[in-house]
Amino acid sequence: MKKIRYDKLPVHIFLIVSALVFLLPVWMLIATSTHSPEEIIQHGFQLGIGEHFLSTYKSILFEKEGYTKSVTAGRMLINSLILGFGFAIGKVIISSLAAYAIVYFRFRLANFLFWIIFLTLLLPVEVRIVPSFEVLSTLGLLNSYTGLIVPLIASATGTFFFRQFYKSVPDELLEAAKIDGAGSWQFFIDILLPLSKTMMVALFIVMFIVGWNQYLWPVMMTTKPEYSTLLLGIKEIYQSNFEGSYLPEYNKAAAMTILALIVPVGIVVIFQKWFVKGLVDTEK
């Protein structure tokens, strides 16, 4: 049997208590989502598991919800996934290519252009949201996945990280590849991308969560409920609760919050393994 180290006990107690404090709201959401709306109205948020687990989740995933009753949470989940993945993958691709151009092709103004890109870091999406909206509406891209994703995938942060990484790759590697007959495209695909795997996964995780949590942008860009994301859906349920004449369906709101939580947590958990593995494997 493993010996218990009593000197470590206070630390563990502290950690366990902290973990519980952080988990409590999540647990309350899960528990609440398994009760009926009537119960929640009467007794408030719940700590025990109720009997309506299956029915609640079934109804939000497959029954049309929200203000307009025209879209299911399942559809919203898919929209959110498309936004999250499109956003993250697009950012990784665009920023790795941009950084490759800046670092390896010593064209004139490369540094200048880099700093221009870098400066856009200072401007959050919210600042350019009106002009971006104007452009997209002129292009007729409102209410489309393209309009939802493409304007956001240019990434100063990503370009910056890739640039710093590429700069740390020894020049001899490029020279060796040149002598081995690799063109610039081949060098990128065969050498640079596999080396930056770790970087890419890290950036992907961060960007997926940023994309998933986008709120203002989808609100502006989509007016049709079939393009609505989970986050918009949650808001709509609460809104209909307050403004509508129905019984407030807090159980469904809680269930959708859980849905909105599971995916990013899953992404982090899955990719973190790869992330750590990449850290251990790669050696420049």
Binding site: E175, A176, A177, I179, A182
Partner: protein, 337 residues
């Protein structure tokens, strides 16, 4: 000539020229070692041959073909880098085969060649390991293997042994020479280590400040250095150099008059540390010992003689502040104008 470099210039900025009108030739199968202090342009010269640097003026020919405007891959050269530059994410096998794959070789042929080379370099058992799992010496072999597997026209080595420890460096030096004798591929080897130069080269090229100081066999370089620079650079410890005044075509050096044809005011006189002996000979000098380095088989004695610093290689073991008698045979004195 197999490798022909004619009147080549290179500068990175307008003020500073790296290579000045340099010409160099190598026969097929020759092992050429370029040696010089850091910043003398030797690596730049090698990179110009490889096509990694453009040249401002002049011609570079390999096997009768002007390669000035060819890319590194088209020049059919292979290069071994100082830090090996192995692809860290590829196995040894993939590292070796990458160049062949890019040249569209048949899979079966690639496999055959990689295995041949791996056997030659005794890295067969590591073929499916990543470079990070190899020791320095093994990585060095893989880097060599990547060059050999292509069967190029010219091998270029850019200080390939300077990342290894002394023992391994010695061992790899011998192996490189053996490999060269076996494969007979024209090689250009850049190093700042004159021992590597002496032991590996068919001919040594001594460079200084972007120019060639002397080209010759190791013996020629050692026994008839063309300039003070070459004399000081080749040989450890370095040659003792004294500045000597001339009067009436004669110099008065260490009490002995030496006839010279030169009418220069000052000359440089060089004596190798190993030429200063215990046995009685033409010139006798008295040395006040200031320091002794014990090497085991012999000692390096640092001392003062008539106000000049001297270095002597000797079997004697004096202690500090001793005054000792040494002799110099006349024929082992070098005179440089």
């Amino acid at each position: 000539m197999y490798l022909n470099i004619k009147d080549v210039d290179k500068s990175y900025s307008k003020e500073k020229k790296i290579i000045h009108g340099l010409s160099l030739e190598a026969e097929k199968g020759e092992f050429l070692v370029i040696v010089g202090p850091s910043g003398c342009g030797k690596s730049t010269l090698l990179r110009m041959i490889a096509g990694l640097e453009e040249i401002d003026r002049g011609i570079i020919e390999i096997d009768g073909q002007v390669v000035n405007s060819l890319s590194p891959a088209q020049r059919d050269i292979a290069m071994v880098f100082q830090n090996y530059a192995l692809y860290p994410h590829m196995s040894v096998y993939k590292n070796l085969s990458y160049g062949l794959k890019n040249r569209g070789f048949d899979k079966g042929l690639i496999e055959q060649r990689v295995h041949e080379v791996a056997k030659l370099l005794q890295i067969e058992e590591f073929l499916f390991r990543k470079p990070s799992a190899l020791s320095g010496g093994q990585r060095q072999r893989v880097a060599m293997g990547r060059a050999i597997v292509r069967e190029p026209k010219v091998f270029l080595y850019d200080e390939p042994l300077s990342n290894l420890d002394a023992k391994l460096r010695h061992q790899m030096r011998i192996e490189i020479r053996k490999l060269h004798e076996r494969l007979g591929i024209t090689s250009v080897y850049v190093t700042h280590d004159q021992v590597e130069a002496m032991t590996l080269a068919d001919r040594i090229v001594v460079m200084n400040e972007g120019k060639i100081e002397q080209i010759g066999t190791p013996d020629e370089i050692y026994n008839t250095p063309a300039s003070v620079f070459v004399a000081k650079f080749m040989g450890t410890p370095p040659m003792n150099i004294f500045q000597v005044k001339i009067s009436n075509g004669k110099m008065d050096f260490l009490g002995i008059e030496v006839e010279t044809g030169s009418s220069d005011d000052t000359l440089f006189v060089g004596i190798r540390p190993e030429a200063i002996q215990d046995e009685e000979s033409d010139i006798s000098i008295e040395v006040a010992v200031t320091m002794v380095e014990r090497l085991g088989s012999e000692n390096i004695i640092y001392g003062e003689c008539m106000g000049e610093q001297v270095i002597i290689k000797s079997k004697k073991t004096p202690s500090k502040n001793d005054t000792m008698q040494f002799y110099i045979p006349k024929e082992s004195i070098f005179i440089f104008s």
